[in-house]
């Protein structure tokens, strides 16, 4: 640890120049009765080498998705991130900076985030985007409270929002935690048996503050019905659409079919899954929401010489100015991960994004084709899927996944975790990393599983 403390060995000299004798003298203001009496009961310091060795051993015991055929997604997706992204984001000037409070020496990050805002804005088809929230779930949650702030006064169903019943419970829980303080009532929207939104039931939501839906939805379905939602709920109810950003390479941007706010988990663009974080939350909206939206925003401005310059703007919404009346409590956000997203987007360009989306779609489609002919396996929804879809297996999903795991396959996500009634359903995800061999191995083992379960050819 000595190597991290430049003044080790200089303590006496420094203390003396202040007229102090010992390190203790620096802590005379801390009463004895709140002092630790002994050294912290923790392990001893380690050198870099020892730490790396331990990390290698511990992390090495985790099972990498890349080390075996893997079909788990359910909100986080392993797309390839080009080498240049990692190498640039770890440049010290980016890595070791903080919030650009002094714009004159932070133009690099500010411009990069302004460009990020533009990239996201173009991606989702809305004029305004902030420079990231914590993740997809908090972005969705903050969209709900934002919608209530904007629409509550005119809403016939005040303090009320509607959320798709398919939303995973973990995400719902985040929404509930974020909504409860403002006493927002969250009602759910039903879906048809084919996995699409029940547009009939949707009428109920008109007059509320907002509606939250996802495209593709949590079952991986591209639901054409969403393009009619805004017409049904009307101008005074916010249409909030949660997206998987990669899909927007080929799927219409929600801003183009009436979304007022678009949120999403940014991770599939630019970042690995990383055990579930750090991620970055996308948040974009139309102009009327601008002054009540959460998060930091960069504006293009000029310096005293009239030269193009960037700075944080609209800070009066934020906690450091507005304190308890702020539009959100967010301070530290996910800029560095958003920067990775920006770099990935910049590298891809529009055609690259389309290719990436197409690769995901094709991999999913191919998986569906093969599993649809796999003994005992049923594709649950006849629908257009983007990169994941539900299958029904003989026996329980849990047992089937365990069986696959025993055979070296991460088979997907047990849908009963989300929907307790779906005991025999697995959400199978394909990405750009899915190979034909992976699919064939999955299919073969699912066939074996079916056989074990007594399904005959």
């Amino acid at each position: 640890m000595v190597d991290q403390l430049p003044n080790r060995g200089r303590e006496a000299e420094m203390l003396q120049s202040m007229g102090l004798q010992t390190m203790e003298d620096l802590f005379i203001d801390i009463p004895a009765d709140v002092r630790f009496k002994e050294e912290l009961p923790l392990r001893g310091p380690q050198s870099e080498e020892e730490i790396i060795a331990d990390a290698r051993r511990l992390l090495g015991s985790n099972v990498d998705m890349g080390a075996r055929p893997s079909f788990i997604g359910a909100g986080l997706y392993r797309n390839y991130v080009p080498a240049a992204v990692f190498q640039l984001v770890t440049r010290g000037e980016f890595l070791t900076a903080y919030t650009p409070y002094q714009p004159e020496v932070s133009q690099g990050m500010l411009q990069a985030m302004w460009e990020f805002q533009t990239l996201i804005s173009e991606l989702v088809g809305l004029p305004v985007a902030n420079l990231s929230l914590y993740d997809g779930s908090t972005a969705a949650a903050e969209a709900l409270t934002c919608a209530v702030r904007v629409h509550n006064r005119k809403a016939s169903q005040s303090n009320t929002v509607y959320v798709s019943e398919l939303i995973p419970p973990d995400k719902m829980s985040v929404m509930e935690n974020y909504c409860q303080g403002a006493e927002i009532i969250i009602k759910t929207l039903k879906h048809n048996a084919d996995g699409t939104l029940d547009l009939g039931g949707l009428k109920e939501a008109a007059g509320s503050c907002g509606v939250y839906l996802e495209q593709p939805n949590p079952l991986g379905i591209l639901d054409e019905g969403l393009i009619t939602v805004k017409d049904i709920i009307g101008a005074n109810t916010a249409l909030i659409v949660g997206v998987q950003p990669v899909s927007l390479g080929i799927v219409e941007a929600p801003g183009h079919y009436g979304a007022d706010i678009v949120v999403g988990e940014g991770q599939p663009l630019g970042s690995p899954v990383t055990g579930g974080g750090p991620l970055y939350g996308i948040f974009a909206c139309t102009k009327p929401y601008l002054r009540l939206m959460p998060g930091r925003i960069v504006g293009r401005s000029i310096d005293v010489d009239g030269k193009e310059a960037y700075c944080l703007t609209l800070s009066t919404r934020e906690q450091h100015i507005r304190r308890h009346r702020a539009t959100s409590n967010i301070c530290t956000n996910e800029t560095l991960i958003a920067l990775m997203g920006a770099m990935h987007m910049a590298l891809l360009g529009p055609d690259g994004l389309r290719d990436l989306a197409q690769r995901n779609l094709a991999a999913c489609q191919r998986t569906k084709e093969i599993l649809s002919t796999t003994k005992g396996i049923e594709i649950v929804h006849t629908a257009h899927h983007f990169n994941e879809f539900a299958i029904r297996v003989p026996g329980s999903a849990k047992d089937c996944l365990n069986y696959l795991d025993d055979n070296g396959i991460i088979g997907g996500f047990d849908l009963s975790t989300w929907y307790p009634e779906s005991k025999d359903q697995i959400l199978v995800t394909a990405t750009d990393q899915t190979t034909l061999r992976d699919i064939e191995v999955l299919s073969a083992q699912l066939a074996m599983w079916s056989m074990h379960q007594g399904v005959s050819a």
């Binding site: 303590e11 460009e115 529009p350």
Partner: protein, 500 residues
């Protein structure tokens, strides 16, 4: 100037993809959902992309660039081993929904971090789920809220914060639905116990405070404050942003707190370039533990079968607290950040106290050196300490009000003058209770030489004539940025219209 959106090569992409899978029936999007116009993203080849972001980085100041004494932000050196560890196999490609036996390494690191933080904070249970300090605050206040609801004390609708508190404190409590009661500080910058006693009552859910406080002063009366709040039936919340001053020396637990958040990205050096990512674990006393968001990392002796994949003598598993408030992030928090901070912790281990000692040593030394240099140059009258104290903790404040009154030099002018000297400026105008405040936090990773030179340069800035300072900075990529213009002429994205 390099403009991303001016790159419009005829080239397809800066990342050529492999052909990918083909499918029998061409994979399609429902006709009504086919994207009509592709995003107007730029088209760059890899060489152009690398050069653009290299160029941007060169216009950005980080700790690696120079001294970054941003008060309240603990901008310490980010050891490079952290990045090596984050790139080892077993983290980037880990999915939080993988079964426990796939995640023994991750779980054991989580467990170790929870345990370490519990010890440092003197708390009974830590969760790593919150992804930033503010989210930690929100989470802990939510737990306190549910705790009182369960006890039937619904009348506790208020949260007390000192006027020097960070903005996230009131914002987080308000987001939970609490009313904020702000209490003023004493003239010496410390907490006013009488004011606290006056407001603490049966409507008090919690008091939120940081110690050392945002002026860098240790609140010696903290146990009394805790007593007052506890006597009123409330809970004490510790804002851990200033943990760097006290690790191994004291703990919120010893001071009587019930809940605390950490800013791992500050105290434990998770690089949070440009504003994040962070990690904001919280620790709580036993009464609040059942309400924590789940799951937590836990361990027990392994079964025979489990011992095959166990990383050490334990079997690690997720554990759901009984009355959990649910989740505040959809997964397990910022696992990638936690692992970097674990590497950082391991470097110090039981010696974390040394780290805090050096943080406090450096802050006091710098404060002293600035006064010393100012006296030498005869400009001591241009500033006063933000608070009277013999020893500061990890940071200190200076009020530039005298300079403002005498010469028209504001804290912001001094800040901009420091940029011209090649420094990041200290935090300015926070805390709000100190007029023309500069809040200076050197951290333990700055050398005596750096501190001495900074003190000299700081004083040199004070000796600069007002006009020059008003015009500062002049050596930076751009000069003083017009923030009013930015707000009046909102330009939040590239105006494609103009460029076409």
């Amino acid at each position: 100037m390099s403009h991303l959106f001016n790159h419009n090569g005829a080239n397809d992409t800066g990342y050529s993809q492999p052909p990918g899978l083909t499918c029998v029936n061409e994979a399609t999007v429902p006709s009504g959902l086919v994207r009509q116009h592709s995003a107007r993203w730029p088209r760059l080849s890899e060489p152009e992309m690398v050069r653009h972001y290299t160029w941007l980085s060169k216009r950005n100041f980080g700790i690696d660039t120079g001294f970054y004494p941003l008060g309240s932000c603990t901008m310490k050196h980010n050891p490079r081993v952290n990045e090596v560890i984050a790139q080892l196999p077993g983290i980037a490609d880990i999915h939080p929904h993988q079964p426990e036996h796939h995640l023994q390494g991750l779980l054991s690191i989580f467990y170790e971090m929870q345990h370490m933080l519990e010890i440092c904070a003197g708390m009974d249970q830590v969760t790593l789920q919150p992804v930033a300090g503010a989210q930690g605050e929100f989470t802990a206040i939510r737990c306190i809220q549910e705790y009182f609801r369960q006890r039937g004390e619904d009348q506790r609708t208020k949260v007390i914060v000192p006027d020097s508190a960070h903005g996230t404190n009131p914002a987080s409590a308000a987001m939970c639905g609490f009313e904020i009661v702000e209490i003023p500080s004493l003239a010496d910058g410390r907490m006013d116990l009488a004011a606290l006693a006056a407001v603490a009552d049966e409507t008090t859910a919690a008091m939120m405070i940081t110690n050392p406080n945002t002026l860098g002063l240790f609140e010696a009366d903290i146990k009394e404050a805790s007593q007052i709040v506890h006597d009123a039936g409330g809970q004490m919340y510790y804002d851990g942003a200033n943990f760097n001053a006290i690790l191994g020396i004291t703990s919120p637990g010893l001071m009587g707190f019930d809940a605390v958040h950490f800013n791992l990205h500050k105290t434990f050096s998770q690089p949070h370039g440009g504003g994040g990512p962070g990690s904001g674990p919280i620790g709580v006393k036993a009464q609040l533990a059942p309400f924590l968001p789940g799951p937590l990392a836990a361990r027990r002796s392994p079964t025979a079968q489990e011992s095959v994949t166990a990383v050490d003598d334990y079997w690690y598993h997720w554990h759901q607290p009984e009355h959990s408030i649910g989740k505040v992030q959809q997964w397990h928090g910022n696992a990638g950040a936690v692992i970097r901070c674990w590497a950082y912790y391991r470097r110090y281990g039981s010696g974390l106290k040394t780290m805090s000692e050096h943080a406090v040593l450096n802050a006091n030394y710098l404060r002293h050196a600035i006064h010393r240099e100012a006296k030498k140059e005869g400009v001591s009258h241009l500033f006063v300490d933000g608070a009277e104290t013999d020893v500061a903790k990890h940071e200190f404040t200076l009020s530039m009000q005298p300079a403002k009154d005498a010469l028209g030099i504001s804290a912001m002018d001094v800040a901009k003058g420091l940029l011209d000297k090649g420094y990041m400026a200290p935090t300015v105008y926070f805390p709000l209770v100190v007029p023309e405040c500069m809040m200076i936090e050197p951290t333990e990773t700055e050398s005596k030489d750096t501190l001495d030179t900074f003190a000299e340069q700081f004083v040199e800035v004070l000796q600069t004539d007002a006009e020059t300072l008003h015009a500062a900075p002049v050596t930076t990529p751009v000069r003083r940025v017009d923030e009013v213009y930015a707000a009046r002429n909102l330009c939040l994205r590239h105006p494609f219209e103009d460029s076409e």
